[in-house]
Each structure stands twice: as structure tokens, then as C-alpha cells.
């Protein structure tokens, strides 16, 4: 049984100063170009992303030689949680900053790092995640999209689905089969960086139940990718995907998606004088949020120390997404209002938005059942 470590971290003056700087930036930035602030990290606003880039808040932890800020994971944590808590639509650069950049730093070639990282840092290059396929969701090792070796590169055929923001992103790290399936299901896959403006690529939007054009279907028809766009080792893509998950699953976006509702509910309950009956419920959710922050910060600190706490990240994501899903369920019972999807609905609109978006919280980035399976493996049960 592997122990799960969540040693709390106390941040210092440096982080406090940075926090103040982010708040002041947001105070002066003005209104965001979007109407929805629930789950703001799944909403794109390239203009905001570029403004954040100018502040040096993209690629913060990356080495300065690639344009990064050489700052700590704790500092990055502070910046991203402030942005999320403010409901800032940070979706455009989110994947590139959170996982594609770190993946290239870990496994990418020198040329790839020099080419892509400075562009990401400047807010000029957004990345999509090309993993899921119509018949491969949780069972990612069963993907069919294949890349065949040709002179000077690879030819991709197949399709991906549920690709968030593929219509806005410039590049996509695409998991492909580069060798036929064998006894080792996890062998024979590679990650290829695909330029989404390439010939042979068709991106088709899929509208979510909340009415948003968020994710897409992507078709590859003889798409050529040069040799120098393979990330890491050919056929070793699986272990790289697994490493990516520690970055993907542990951040504050895994519990702050519906946070705006909590703040608005407290205000509303105060104004309508419904505080007393709500106290135990508000206190319970606030306590959960406090612990999740401690746990997520602790994972950030472990990433700083060069560890890959994959099990801990799964714990944060499962507890965190349960929190952000249960929050609207609890708030609707203490607020004296019905959810409203109309534009200026105030707390009723936040309620509506969070209820409509909540199902996705525990699906994207690995479902609840899959995460619990990973944790069970860590416990020594599988």
C-alpha cells in the first residue's frame, strides 16, 4: 500500500505579493468578454490570455531560456487560483500552460522546446488534447487513429472527439497508434504535435447540453506530420500520457468550477436574511474547500520537488469534482430561488449554469470510476 502524502504548505510573502498583484490586475482589467463565469477555465478569451502573458503569468514555472518565468509551482498555484476564483475565462491557454508545455519540457526535443515554449508564454500558441476517440474514452489504450511512417515524417488517419477548443487552438498533442496492437496494450503509441491548420484536418463543433460550442470532432485524412514533431520516443507515448496526468488532475480548477455560486449564494442569503438555516451548509462546504486548497497546494509543492504524485492528483480530482458538483445541489436547497438561464439572472443564473455544467466536471480528465481505480491500485488492491 502506497501512502498518500498531503503535507500542508504555508505560502509566504512572495506568494502574498503575487496574489495582490493578480487581484489588482483583475480590478483594472475590466469586464471579461463572456457572459458565463461558471467553469471559467473552459471558456476561451484569447485577448485575456494575451494580457496574462504580458504579465508573465503563462509558463511561469518554465526556465527563462524558453521565455518562462522560472517561478515556483506555488507561485503558479496562487496566480491560477486567483484567476479561477474571479471567474476569469482562462480556457484558451489553459491546456498549453498546464500540461502541454510541461510535457515538452519533460519529453520534448530541444528544437520543440525552443520553438513552442516561447510562443506559449507569449499567448500566441494554444494547445488542444487529442486523446479521446469515438470508441475510446476511458479505455484510451484502444485508440485507432494511426500514424504511418512515411519519408520524413508520419501520415495520420482517423478521428478524435470531445476535443476542447480545437477550433481555437493552434496545435494539438495527438495520441496515435504507431505500431499495431500487441500483447502489451500500452505499447506502440506515440504523441505527435499536430498543427491544426494543416491540410487534411476537419474540425466539427459539438454543442454541449448547456448550449456551448466547446468541444469538437476532428477528422484526419492523410495528415502529414514531420519527424521532428514526435514528442519523446516513438511508441513510448503511453508513459508520457500518464506523466501528464499529475499536472492535469491536481490543480484548483478541479474544485473551483462552481465556486462563483458559493460567493453569490452567501451574498444572496445575507440579503434575503436566510442566514441562520444556511450556516451549517455553508460552513460544511467552506470546510471542504479549505481542505481541498491545502491538498492541491501540497501537490503543487510536490511537483516543485520534481515528484509525479499521480495518486495524490487523482485524490484531489475525485474529491474536488465531487465538491464542485455537490455545491449547486446544496445551494439550490437553501436559496429561495429557482434556477434561471436568462442572461441577467444573478444567483439564479449561476445556479442554472452550474447545474447544467456539473456533469462534465467528473468526466473530463478521467472519470470518477477510472480515478478510483487508480487510487485502488495505489492501495495495492489491483
Amino acid at each position: 500500500m502506497k501512502k498518500l502524502y498531503f503535507t500542508p504548505v504555508i505560502t509566504g510573502e512572495k506568494e502574498a505579493a503575487l496574489r495582490a498583484e493578480v487581484r489588482s490586475f483583475l480590478d483594472h482589467y475590466g469586464a471579461f468578454n463572456v457572459s458565463n463565469i461558471i467553469d471559467s477555465w473552459s471558456i476561451c478569451d484569447p485577448e485575456l490570455s494575451r494580457a496574462l502573458a504580458e504579465k508573465g503569468w503563462l509558463g511561469m514555472t518554465w526556465p527563462t531560456e524558453y521565455g518562462g518565468g522560472s517561478r515556483s509551482y506555488l507561485e503558479r498555484y496562487v496566480v491560477i487560483e486567483e484567476l479561477l476564483a474571479a471567474g476569469a475565462p482562462v480556457g484558451a491557454h489553459w491546456v498549453a500552460d498546464r500540461q502541454s508545455g510541461p510535457l515538452l519540457l519533460r519529453f520534448g526535443s530541444e528544437e520543440q522546446r525552443q520553438y513552442f515554449l516561447p510562443k506559449i508564454v507569449r499567448g500566441e500558441c494554444f494547445f488542444a488534447i487529442g486523446m479521446s476517440e469515438p470508441n475510446s474514452g476511458s479505455d484510451l489504450a484502444s485508440i485507432k487513429t494511426r500514424a504511418e511512417k512515411v519519408d520524413g515524417g508520419w501520415l495520420i488517419n482517423g478521428s478524435k472527439i470531445w476535443t476542447s477548443w480545437a477550433h481555437v487552438c493552434h496545435q494539438m498533442i495527438t495520441l496515435c497508434r504507431t505500431a499495431p496492437p500487441s500483447d502489451n496494450r500500452h505499447a506502440g503509441m506515440s504523441q505527435l504535435i499536430v498543427d491544426l491548420s494543416q491540410k487534411g484536418i476537419t474540425v466539427r463543433p459539438i454543442i454541449t447540453l448547456a448550449g456551448e460550442a466547446h468541444f469538437n470532432e476532428i477528422f484526419f485524412d492523410d495528415v502529414f506530420v514531420p519527424d521532428n514533431r514526435v514528442v519523446g520516443q516513438v511508441n513510448e507515448g503511453w508513459s508520457q500520457v500518464v506523466a501528464e496526468l499529475a499536472f492535469e488532475r491536481s490543480g484548483p480548477e478541479r474544485f473551483l468550477s462552481s465556486y462563483q455560486l458559493l460567493e453569490a449564494a452567501i451574498k444572496e442569503l445575507r440579503e434575503t436574511n436566510l442566514m441562520q438555516q444556511a450556516e451549517p451548509i455553508i460552513g460544511k462546504f467552506v470546510a471542504r474547500l479549505m481542505v481541498l486548497r491545502q491538498m492541491s497546494l501540497s501537490v503543487a509543492n510536490q511537483l516543485q520537488e520534481g515528484k509525479l504524485p499521480i495518486n495524490e492528483a487523482s485524490v484531489v480530482k475525485d474529491l474536488g469534482t465531487s465538491f464542485e458538483q455537490e455545491l449547486p445541489e446544496a445551494m439550490r436547497l437553501i436559496l429561495a430561488t429557482e434556477p434561471r438561464s436568462s442572461a441577467n439572472g444573478g444567483v439564479a443564473r449561476l445556479l442554472s449554469d452550474s447545474i447544467l455544467k456539473a456533469p462534465s466536471f467528473s468526466l473530463r480528465g478521467g472519470t470518477r470510476e477510472i480515478l478510483r481505480g487508480i487510487i485502488a491500485r495505489g492501495l495495492g488492491l489491483r
Partner: protein, 344 residues
């Protein structure tokens, strides 16, 4: 963890592991005090863990004490570890001379009438104590009285784990002779006791998780270990999540002792351990099935404590209400800025 904390852990583990071979639990549940264990505990000098060095303690304070409490919880130690340490500390802070006797804290939250009888409910271990340390608030000051247990009426009671929780009747004139506990608020005392319990619960949760994982790997049905069944794995994963959240919450509260957010993080620790306790007990018993429902199998030592402790020194609902009320009162009208002061 500091070196001193590591030392505490090593030597306390040695002591508590020896305890588990004894019949102390049966003794305790039959109403007797486990004298041998207690004298070993005293011989190792644990009683003064919370005292400052100038008061003859080890200077580890409540933070160090919580390391000990977590282990006491892990091993279901049938001794008043939290109560004795806290009472000795508060007695010393109020200027009483303390020796190696069992003192237990008893808190009175209500205003008292002069010269009348008053019953303090559920005082832990009162029947075994030599004195009671009564803590109350009077004229906005925390005051402490030391009452010999010979001078009070005790009606014995016990919690679900068989730990003594006695009703103690005193005459309020007995409290006239009291000392001021300067610099310490009664609410603070209550929160420290809650933190001590939460630390014990975190240890107990860890033990429950370990026992359940071990059992799930050992027990076979349908030709394979029951831990291989996904339905079992999914519950165990949640058990591990809640256990690690509880440990983290307690550690965070310890880190914030003596800070401005002290009670808020303690509240959070007691809420988290309290919520986890119910889930852990339910899941551990489900996985162990019938064998875990027996007295002979040691799982019950932990689960009965968890069920009892989650309601002691404030349950999840009480601490949540307090925390929730605080959120509504935040002057800045901003939950987020308050939340983020906790880690900086």
C-alpha cells in the same frame, strides 16, 4: 516533520504497540482503569508533553501533542491521553502545581447560579481522575478551578467505545476559589480539545484504512481476493481519499496554531474527520462483513471510537454552523480574501 516530532513518533509507537498486547481494553470497558499502561505512560514522561520547557515540559506544545494523539488514535490506546495532557497544561497555565496525577478537563459553557447544584455532563474519565479541572467563563475572563473528585458526585456513563463519560454534579460554591487563565479564551480551550480529538480520529482513520486494505487482500471469495472486485475497490478508494483529507486537515490545523486562523482550521479538521468517520466505519464494516461485526475482531476498537469521537467536542454540524456564521459575518463581504489568508 521536525526531528522532535519524529522522536515522539518513534518512542510513542514503541509504547503503544506494547499496549495492544495487553487486556487493557477489556479492563477499561469493564470499568477499571488500565493502571499498568498508565504508569508506563507516566514513566515515559508523556504527561507534560504540552508544557513549555520552563514549566518542566518538553516544549513541543499542542503541535507535538497532536503527534502523540494521532498515534493514540491509531492504536486505540485506552487511556485519557488528550484529556490528561490538556488538563495538566491548562492547570500549569493557571498557576496550579501539577504532579503525576490524573487531571481531566470539564468545561462549563452556561452561566451559573450562585450556591446551587450543577451537573456537567459526560466528563471524560472523571471516575478515574484525582481532580477535575473546571473551566468556565466569568466576566469575560476564563477561570479555572481544581476540584478533588472526592468532593463531587459522579454518575458513571460511557461512550460507544466504553470510555468513561461521567456526569459530575458540583455545588457552584466549589468554584469560588478559582484562578484566572489569562491570555486563553474558553473558546480556544474548546477548539484545542476538538483538535486533539480530530488528531486521534485521523490516526484511527489511518488504522481503519490499513486494516481494511489488508483484509480485502487476504479474504477470498469466488476464487479471488475480494479486493479484486471493482465494487470493493471503488469504496476503498473513497475511504483512502477521505482518510488522506482528514490527515491533511489535521496537519494544516496544527500548522496554523497560534495564527489568526487557528480556530477556523481546527473547525475544518473536526468537520473533515467527523464526516470521514461515518464513511470509514460504514465502508470498513461493509468490506469486513460479519467478522468485523464481532467483538473479537479488533476493527471495532477503532470504529466505535470514531463513532463516539465525531460527536465529542463539537460534531460536524456544530462546527460547520460556527464556520458558516463566520462566513456570513465577514466584514469584507469577500469569502475569497478570507479563505486565502489561511495559507499566507
Amino acid at each position: 516533520m521536525s526531528e522532535l516530532a519524529q522522536l515522539i513518533e518513534q518512542s510513542a509507537t514503541r509504547l503503544f504497540e506494547d499496549f495492544s498486547d495487553s487486556n487493557a481494553h477489556e479492563l477499561m470497558e469493564a470499568g477499571q482503569f488500565p493502571e499498568t499502561l498508565w504508569s508506563d505512560f507516566l514513566a515515559d514522561g508523556w504527561l507534560t508533553t504540552l508544557l513549555s520547557e520552563s514549566d518542566g515540559g518538553s516544549g513541543l506544545g499542542l503541535a507535538g501533542g497532536c503527534v502523540l494523539m494521532r498515534l493514540a488514535g491509531y492504536y486505540s490506546v485506552p487511556l485519557p491521553v488528550l484529556e490528561s495532557l490538556m488538563a495538566v497544561y491548562l492547570a500549569a497555565e493557571s498557576g496550579f502545581t501539577v504532579n503525576d496525577e490524573l487531571l481531566v478537563p470539564a468545561i462549563i459553557s452556561e452561566p451559573l447560579k450562585a450556591d446551587s447544584e450543577y451537573t456537567i455532563r459526560g466528563v471524560p474519565w472523571a471516575r478515574h481522575a484525582s481532580s477535575l479541572l473546571v473551566i468556565l467563563s466569568s466576566n469575560n475572563e476564563t477561570r479555572v478551578s481544581m476540584l478533588s473528585c472526592q468532593s463531587v458526585t459522579i454518575v458513571e456513563g460511557q461512550n460507544m467505545a466504553g470510555e468513561a463519560r461521567d456526569d459530575v454534579t458540583i455545588n457552584t460554591t466549589q468554584l469560588n476559589d478559582s484562578q484566572s487563565l489569562s491570555g486563553i479564551d474558553i473558546e480556544q480551550v474548546k477548539s484545542w480539545l476538538a483538535l486533539g480529538r480530530a488528531a486521534q480520529m485521523a490516526g484511527s482513520l489511518q488504522r481503519v484504512l490499513e486494516m481494511t486494505v489488508e483484509y480485502a487482500n487476504d479474504r477470498s471469495q469466488f476464487g479471488r481476493a475480494i479486493g479484486k472486485f471493482q465494487a470493493v475497490q471503488q469504496q476503498m478508494a473513497v475511504l483512502a481519499e477521505m482518510t488522506s483529507a482528514s490527515i491533511c486537515a489535521v496537519d494544516a490545523a496544527i500548522d496554523h496554531l497560534a495564527s489568526e486562523q487557528e480556530w477556523e482550521l481546527i473547525a475544518c479538521a473536526k468537520i473533515t474527520t467527523g464526516e470521514s468517520a461515518g464513511y470509514a466505519a460504514k465502508t470498513a464494516h461493509a468490506v469486513h462483513a460479519a467478522i468485523g461485526f464481532t467483538q473479537e475482531y479488533p476493527l471495532q476498537l477503532n470504529t466505535r471510537r470514531l463513532w463516539s469521537w465525531r460527536d465529542e467536542y463539537g460534531n460536524e454540524a456544530q462546527w460547520s454552523a460556527k464556520l458558516g456564521k463566520h462566513c456570513f459575518q465577514l466584514e469584507t463581504d469577500n469569502l475569497w480574501s478570507w479563505l486565502t489568508t489561511q495559507t499566507s
